[in-house]
């Protein structure tokens, strides 16, 4: 065994490698990203009762609020919330079983399903409330399992899960680039949500490269917001409120 167990970094600042930019001004709240995520990542559907009781498995949800009273009432722009892939994630240190760890290579927050014992501390400590727990073994009647993505683990009861930034796509693209002997370029692939978004409100890419599309967008818009940044979580998702 020559691989070293990676060290856990508690407070060292990390800028992150992959990031997302979400333009709320053009997000129409159409749920295409939610559906795309569910299809790509083998998310279970939980049924009416559990979904209404806060047990839906959505890895991404679109939040909206109301401002004002009729007739001057406005719906706030749709705000897709998914794992913010924090550089200093509150979910990571609290897991007693090392199931929530920081990937040194991808600089993402990983959820190692088969290490998870289900204490749910990570979800409790996530200020964004974007983790979903497998409260039950949700039934996927035959032949629905035929559509399961073989690149993504099918989770079972008692395990925490969350948005992975479609890490299976990252790895596939990296492997392809490697086999072709070149560097992975920005925009070569994207996450399921960004790929589906009819308004192109979600852009995914390398936030550590100044010439990448996401970095350009952040510079151009100039007033991006990172949610709950004041907690020191160093989120990788930037929102443009727009309007």
């Amino acid at each position: 065994m020559n691989s070293k167990i990676p060290e856990i970094k508690l407070s060292e600042e990390q800028t992150g490698k992959w990031g997302m930019v979400i333009d709320q001004d053009i997000c129409t709240g159409c749920q295409a990203c939610v559906a795309a995520c569910a299809m790509e990542n083998n998310l279970s559907f939980v049924g009416e009762v559990d979904a209404g009781y806060g047990r839906s498995m959505h890895w991404i949800r679109i939040e909206r609020f109301w401002e004002g009273e009729y007739p001057e009432v406005k719906m706030t722009p749709g705000q897709p919330m998914m794992c913010q892939q924090c550089g200093s994630a509150p979910c990571e240190p609290v897991c007693p079983a090392f199931a929530t760890v920081h990937s040194q290579a991808e600089q993402l927050n990983l959820q190692v399903y088969n290490r998870c014992v289900g204490t749910r501390y990570c979800a409790n400590n996530c200020p964004y409330q974007v983790r979903s727990f497998n409260w039950r073994d949700y039934v996927r009647p035959e032949p629905l399992p035929n559509q399961l993505n073989p690149d993504v683990t099918v989770r079972r009861m008692g395990v925490m899960e969350k948005c992975t930034f479609c890490i299976q796509r990252i790895h596939k693209a990296e492997d392809k680039a490697k086999s072709e002997g070149r560097e992975l370029t920005d925009g070569e692939f994207t996450t399921a949500c960004a790929q589906a978004c009819p308004a192109n409100a979600i852009t995914f890419g390398r936030i550590d490269q100044p010439e990448s599309l996401v970095s350009q967008l952040i510079r151009k818009h100039g007033h991006g917001v990172k949610h709950l940044e004041e907690l020191g979580t160093l989120p990788s998702v930037t929102y443009f409120k727009g309007g």
């Binding site: 497998n134 009861m157 907690l231």
Partner: protein, 481 residues
């Protein structure tokens, strides 16, 4: 204890002395009985079971089998969805119960160790009863933690052991600290329970037959009461009494860190450590008086050993602890409120005005108003049944406090889109099952081990003497240890 002179009271000739009678009636340590008689009383209380005992025992067993084991099976097979937990209330009653039972377990050690260290004499007849509570409370706390886990069949992954996965538990996680602290506490408190039990086991061994004899023989570890054995035992007990106090403080402090170390509004408070410790003592003392009142009321000869003076003394402690709890609560609330963080303010408002606001007010009434208005009075706090109800209220109030801190507080987080109210489901029968198991274990223990540490009482009685100075009778105490 060596076979010294029989505990005696000087000047017992003056039977018409009202002062002396008064002292005897009031104080166990001034009312000695012959040792043999006292031992026989304890043995008899242990061996007597009425049909009522067995009826209650059977009912509780049924509750445990159904509420705890059957329902737990359902929970394991069908998943945590059977409970009321969801986003954002990922933590529910199981953790409320965990904190609650750890709290209960605190008083045992507190009474026993702290009072032993400070040589508070009134402790003598009930240290055992309190220590048993510690151990059995911890058992419930452990059960509750495991009920909470999504994949409890993998719980052993949380223990540090060499494994092919090359993984240690994450020492950054407060849950790992918790696990270590609780395990340490369970082990040390069990040993601390056992040490003073040895002489009583030897006593019981010498006075029983059949399976009981075998049982006590094993547990007595061959104790014969030699001077050397007593010295070693005293030393060990002394060490444990001192050492277990920091362990006790650390356990509940670490439990509080599960919450305080989290980045949640309302939880991230520096005062949670002592606040939780005092809270634990509060509920623990409440539980002790409840147990003592029941034991006194239901078991033979216990009215001799447990007297109003004991309730009176514990009542004073409870009053002080209640004041301490109120102080910490007020401190926590005030500072958080002045902090002005919008989510914390929202949370504090939700505590009082939300759908479970009644619980918040009930908590204050049960934890502060009721103890303060009853326990100040010497007579009232000497009444076993009155103080039993005060203890009951305190325990309900403290359970409410934990309920408010866990499922009610996690309702409010920084993502208002997800706020949702927790509705417990399978937790309720399982909680009742845990409570039943606690009582069941206690009932079983009450018939297997002497609930009264006879030798400690006798030691105390030997040390206390009534002496007459002129017309006055005064108590003198000789230093034993």
């Amino acid at each position: 204890m060596s076979d010294q002179n029989k505990p005696s009271v000087q000047g017992t000739a003056g039977h018409h002395d009202h002062g002396e009678e008064h002292f005897r009636e009031k104080h166990l340590l001034l009312d000695p009985l012959p040792r043999g008689e006292m031992n026989a009383m304890v043995m008899e209380s242990m061996q007597t079971t009425s049909w009522r005992f067995w009826l209650v025992f059977a009912i509780l067993s049924a509750i445990v089998v159904y509420g705890l084991f059957y329902k737990w099976g359902v929970l394991i097979l069908k998943g945590q969805g059977e409970a009321g937990v969801m986003r954002p209330d990922y933590w529910g009653i199981f953790l409320v119960n965990t904190v609650f039972w750890i709290g209960i377990s605190h008083a045992g050690t507190f009474i026993s160790a702290i009072l032993r260290v400070f040589k508070a004499e009134f402790r003598r007849p009930f240290t055992r009863a309190a220590e048993l509570m510690t151990t059995f409370g911890l058992v419930q706390a452990g059960f509750s933690v495991f009920m909470h886990m999504g994949r409890v069949w993998l719980a052993y992954w949380l223990f540090p052991y060499a494994n092919q996965r090359m993984l240690w538990p994450n020492l950054h996680s407060p849950l790992t600290w918790d696990l270590l602290a609780i395990t340490t506490y369970l082990l040390s408190s069990t040993m601390y329970l056992f040490l003073p039990l040895i002489p009583d086991m030897a006593m019981a061994r010498d006075r029983s037959t059949g399976w009981r004899k075998t049982f006590y023989k094993i547990l007595a570890l061959g104790f014969r009461g030699t001077e050397g054995e007593w010295t070693h035992l005293r030393n060990a007990m002394n060490i444990f009494a001192f050492a277990i106090i920091p362990v006790m403080f650390s356990v509940h402090t670490i439990v509080s860190w599960d919450f305080a170390a989290a980045t949640r509004p309302g939880w991230n408070s520096t005062i949670f450590g002592p606040y939780f410790v005092v809270g634990a003592l509060h509920s623990g003392m409440g539980a002790v008086v409840m147990v003592l009142a029941i034991v006194r009321g239901t078991m033979k000869h216990m009215k001799y050993f447990i007297r109003p003076e004991h309730f009176e003394a514990i009542g004073k402690l409870m009053l002080i602890i209640s004041m301490g709890w109120a102080y910490f609560f007020f401190n926590d609330y005030l500072v958080q409120w002045y902090g002005g963080d919008k989510w914390t303010k929202q949370l504090l408002h939700f505590h009082e005005a939300g759908p479970l606001g009644w619980m918040w007010f009930a908590m204050l009434v049960f934890n502060v108003v009721i103890p303060w208005s009853v326990l100040w009075n010497h007579k009232w706090r000497s009444s076993p049944w009155l103080i039993f109800f005060v203890g009951l209220f305190i325990n309900v109030g403290m359970w409410f406090e934990r309920y408010i801190i866990i499922p009610v507080s996690v309702t409010i987080n920084r993502m208002p889109f997800t706020w949702r109210l927790y509705e417990p489901a399978i937790e309720i029968p399982m909680s009742i099952g845990t409570l039943a198991l606690f009582i069941l274990l206690y009932m079983a223990a009450s018939r297997l081990v002497p609930l009264i540490p006879v030798w400690e009482v006798q030691e105390g009685q030997m040390a206390h003497k009534l002496t007459r100075f002129g017309r006055k009778t005064v108590v003198t105490v000789s230093e034993l240890e």
